[in-house]
């Protein structure tokens, strides 16, 4: 990641979504935090980089968790990590897609991304679990 434009754009997108969910206007949110509406606009657009204390206040004002406003790496580089799917998953996708090639593609991509997201967040102990290793082979 050479610069962090993508990161702040994604933070802004998440903020906007949380704000809309709460039914708050940019104006109202700005007032609550004592900042200008332009700041809210710019932060949501990713043009302005909100410092941690402001993000922290924003998460409170928007009734969300701070960690939900911070993108995970795979959200920023979606193709960076995809994981192979088990045969049962592949079969399930084909069924759900009625064998339509485009739908299969979309579903396969998403499923492997979600699988990757799980594995990133909870490193599995595959290497020292002989049962699983054997079943795989």
């Amino acid at each position: 990641m050479a610069d962090f434009d993508d990161l702040y754009a994604e933070v802004g997108r998440k903020l906007r979504q949380a704000r809309v969910t709460q039914g708050l206007s940019q104006e109202k949110l700005a007032q609550q935090l004592g900042i200008s509406r332009a700041s809210v606009v710019n932060i949501e657009a990713g043009r302005q980089r909100a410092p941690l204390h402001l993000l922290w206040q924003l998460s409170e004002a928007l009734a969300t968790d701070l960690s939900l406003l911070i993108p995970r790496r795979e959200e920023l580089s979606p193709v960076a990590k995809e994981t192979a799917l088990q045969p049962t998953m592949v079969k399930r996708i084909r069924e759900a897609a009625n064998n339509e090639p485009d739908t299969i593609k979309v579903l396969t991509r998403l499923a492997s991304k979600l699988k990757a997201a799980i594995e990133i967040e909870s490193p599995v102990r595959k290497s020292n679990d002989p049962r699983k290793a054997r079943r795989k082979g």
């Binding site: 009734a63 897609a97 499923a111």
Partner: protein, 174 residues
């Protein structure tokens, strides 16, 4: 699970994760249940998906759908996660193509029991029975007036159709 059990479980889930207030913060709920969330443009045919590995889950939903629809999809996938994950299976995948509300709570497919249940439970998560009743009372709403339903839908951040179905399923509409 009976309707009554579903209602109770939905409310309990919200209380235990400290998300029992409107509008329900459905993404926060997922997060607190240890379920990752990711949005992506999925074309017209796919609403969302749930992948489960062991005791962890991840939900993907269609970012091109209207926000209220995205919320419904997330609630639907959370429902699968809480109700339909089989403990002894390592990996599981739930795929939801067209999720639509029907008056009777049945999905477009209508035949799949788990889909019907996920729709009911999802509605109970986004529009908890007691909070709906409380809001009607608090704002002194006359449900014969369509404006009242629109108002409620806005408060709970759901579509008017979803709210209308919910009120009807709760026996609050004539």
């Amino acid at each position: 699970m009976t309707r009554e059990k579903l209602e109770e479980k939905a409310e309990k889930t919200l209380r235990e994760t400290d998300t029992y207030r409107i509008p329900i913060a459905i993404e926060v709920l997922a997060h607190r249940l240890n379920v990752a969330i990711q949005s992506e443009a999925l074309g017209d045919n796919v609403a969302g998906m749930l992948v489960v590995e062991g005791n962890r889950g991840a939900i993907g939903y269609n970012s091109t759908h209207a926000l209220v629809r995205q919320r419904f999809t997330i609630a639907h996938e959370i429902s699968h996660y809480l109700l339909h994950v089989r403990k002894n299976q390592k990996s599981q995948l739930f795929i939801d193509r067209h999720l639509t509300f029907r008056r009777d709570g049945y999905s477009a497919g209508g035949v799949d029991f788990e889909e019907v249940e996920a729709n009911q439970f999802g509605a109970a998560l986004l529009m908890p029975r007691s909070l709906v009743r409380q809001e009607i009372k608090r704002s002194d709403l006359d449900l014969d007036d369509e404006e009242a339903i629109i108002f409620l839908a806005k408060r709970f951040h759901v579509s008017t159709a979803a709210m209308s179905n919910r009120l009807s399923n709760l026996g609050l509409l004539r």
